[in-house]
């Protein structure tokens, strides 16, 4: 019998019961909750007179609607305020742990879970947010769910699921200097396409992945969903275990010893069979910039925008034409010729301490270019912000002309006041360049934190390696 993949192992350990048609009841260890996708689920519980199954599996935090400036005035948008207050009230009513606005532990749900040790290797983790794939960096099976499933997990601690297929993406060898986790994952999405991972759990492996820090691994798994895969995973190793150790929710004493022993098995067996295997050569990966309105529309920094005239598939050609038009770009343009209006460094993809260090290193001693109207840095959590400030990163950013903000999802999806105006172009470390994502008519180019900082100080996309 063939060995098991990492996904097989975590899946098998969580099957409560299995029906003949392959539908399984899967047990959920950790349920992360935020204000946007939970109110209707709590309301559903109330209407059906149900109680949450296991309150201590839940951790809640407001993040999507939280202002990043002027927090002393509270949330001024009454609709957003009601949503956050609804989360607060639901957590109080049901006795759920919540990191409220003003708590140093508050931040983006996918930053605070790992930061608190609430995400552990081998867990099943769900949240009503597609970027829950982030937590797969810990060898956890983690994926986004809709609000009906949020209610289902609250009420039953389980999900009704069918097993996904297994894909291995192996990034072989080492990446060059100046190439980051973001560049790796954007290259992968460019390779497999935005639906390439649909129906799969993707395991990221290979030397370049193993050499990443936990922050880098989270960036890669975070964007598995942009390649269509609900779940991305990375095998557990010493990097994982050293990150988890000592965090508030991490196991202690004998439990820690037992957990570490159990986690040693959280990797794919040597003879595991994957339904699809893709190899990428790490050395060939360059810093990436998206040019279009889907994360698969991505270029190496020395690339040019595509020409629809060279595309034989008419549906794809019309997609390229529509994207160029929306983005206000011409065919065959070097991406480094594209000037920007705003810079956003933040989001569940790239707002952790390592991301801020990488951006600060580029910003240090330089100034935000005159044509850039706003360059903002939004740390992923209060604790990330505190850490960055203790290292003096805030001063570097402010000195260079960046705004240093309070934690939240911010301009990744522009539910709060941070947004692009129609036609504005942004170098963004977030995860989606969809039409209108950062504000109606806004134009988003996805890049790494270092590349965002390079764009900020030059006023256009630039190769951070030759700055």
């Amino acid at each position: 019998m063939a060995g098991k993949t990492l996904y097989d192992k975590v899946w098998d350990a969580h099957v409560v019961r299995q029906e003949a048609d392959g539908t399984a009841l899967l047990y959920i260890d950790r349920h992360l909750v935020h204000e946007v996708t939970s109110p209707q689920a709590f309301e559903g519980l109330r209407l059906a007179k149900r109680q949450p199954w296991r309150i201590n599996s839940m951790v809640a935090v407001p993040d999507h609607n939280v202002p990043t400036i002027g927090l002393e005035h509270g949330i001024t948008d009454p609709v957003a305020r009601l949503q956050v207050e609804t989360l607060d009230a639901n957590c109080r009513t049901f006795g759920i742990t919540e990191f409220n606005i003003g708590d140093i532990r508050q931040g983006i749900v996918h930053v605070i879970g790992p930061e608190q040790g609430a995400t552990l290797p081998g867990m099943t983790v769900v949240c009503g947010d597609s970027h829950t794939s982030t937590h797969g960096a810990f060898g956890a099976l983690a994926h986004g769910i809709g609000t009906s499933e949020v209610e289902h997990v609250m009420a039953t601690q389980c999900l009704i699921q069918k097993k996904m297929k297994n894909m291995l993406i192996s990034v072989d060898g080492k990446v060059g200097a100046g190439v980051t986790a973001k560049d790796i994952v954007l290259t992968i999405i460019g390779e497999i396409g935005t639906a390439g991972g649909t129906g799969y759990a993707i395991e990221f492996g290979g030397e370049a992945i193993r050499e990443l820090s936990m922050e880098g691994r989270m960036t890669v798994c975070n964007m598995a969903i942009e390649g269509g895969a609900r779940a991305g995973m990375i095998a557990v190793d010493d990097t994982t275990i050293n990150y988890v150790k000592g965090r508030p929710y991490a196991p202690k004493a004998e439990d820690w010893e037992a957990a570490v022993a159990a986690w040693q098995d959280l990797h794919s067996d040597a003879d595991a069979v994957f339904d699809r295997v893709i190899h990428l050569d790490a050395a060939s990966i360059q810093p990436q910039v998206t040019w279009g309105t889907s994360p698969e529309m991505v270029l190496p920094v020395d690339g040019k925008t595509p020409d629809p005239a060279n595309e034989t598939d008419p549906v794809k050609a019309s997609g390229i034409r529509a994207a160029l038009k929306y983005m206000g770009l011409e065919a065959n343009m070097p991406i480094t010729d594209v000037q920007i209006d705003k810079v956003f460094i933040g989001s569940c993809t790239n707002s952790r301490i390592e991301d801020l260090r990488a951006a600060a290193e580029v910003a240090k001693g330089r100034k935000v270019a005159a044509n850039v109207k706003l360059a903002m840095v939004v740390p992923g959590s209060g604790l990330v912000k505190q850490q960055a400030e203790s290292e003096g990163l805030d001063k570097i950013f402010i000195e260079a002309g960046f705004e240093w903000r309070a934690p939240g999802c911010s301009m990744c999806l522009a539910m709060n006041a941070d947004r692009l105006e129609p036609g504005e172009r942004c170098a963004s470390t977030s995860n989606r360049n969809f039409e209108g994502r950062q504000g109606q008519g806004g134009r988003t180019h996805l890049v790494s934190p270092a590349m965002a900082a390079a764009a900020a100080v030059t006023g256009h996309f630039a190769d951070v390696r030759t700055l």
Binding site: V16, E43, L82, M123, S130, A155, I160, T194, G199, R432
Partner: protein, 211 residues
């Protein structure tokens, strides 16, 4: 949940691939704490010429005459014909709520993003898959024929065109059963509460740190 058995409805063709959930329902409307009322802002950025915000009277906004949803011939459509990877992006179930609130009962596309696909079944919306060449043919017919209707028969797992051509689709048995009967799957899962408790008791022995 509303049952889905047989539905015949006017078809609206949305000829774009990778339609994401941000396009289906933009972020500003996700601030609502309700499940209803998203229909008027379905495809908001494409549908209206001015930017929209929650609380507006959307009937007073200017419809974009170039967007298919605003063509008078598609008024009252309940079957959405779409391209590949429909519903990609965010997990927001609001996208499904916007479609159902607008009156869409079934989506027909060559492929869907996983989370959107899953969310649809929880709300009585049938996302069915047909081969790309059949979809191409349906697009041609729907665009050529005013008042073009399709019949979706879930029991028989068939889509039937006005000319009587029938296309079979496959669907997971459990999902079909829930849709046909309009079942709340939380109730179904709670029938297995003893199994869940037994799993927890066993797991507490082997991995106590998870509790």
């Amino acid at each position: 949940m509303e049952k889905f058995t047989v539905h015949t409805g006017l078809v609206i063709p949305l000829d774009r691939s990778n339609v994401d959930t941000d396009a289906i329902i933009p972020k500003q409307y996700l601030k609502s704490i309700q499940r209803t009322g998203f229909g008027p802002t379905l495809f908001d950025d494409w549908r209206y010429l001015e930017p929209g915000e929650p609380g507006m009277d959307h009937s007073k906004r200017t419809p974009n005459p170039d967007f298919v949803l605003n063509a008078p011939r598609y008024a009252g459509a309940s079957v959405l014909l779409a391209r590949e990877n429909f519903g990609c992006g965010s997990s927001r179930e609001h996208a499904v709520w916007a479609l159902t609130d607008y009156g869409i009962r079934a989506v027909i596309a060559p492929s869907y993003a996983d989370i959107f696909f899953n969310n649809s079944f929880k709300n009585g919306l049938l996302p069915l898959t047909l081969p790309a060449e059949v979809i191409d043919q349906l697009f041609v017919e729907a665009q050529a024929t005013e008042g073009y209707q399709l019949t979706v028969n879930l029991e028989a797992q068939q889509v039937v065109t006005p000319s009587g051509a029938a296309f079979a689709f496959s669907i997971d048995e459990f999902r079909k059963y829930c849709l046909l009967n309009g079942l709340d799957d939380i109730g179904l899962t709670l029938q297995h509460a003893d199994d869940i408790r037994a799993y927890e008791a066993k797991r507490k022995q082997t991995a106590p740190w998870l509790f």
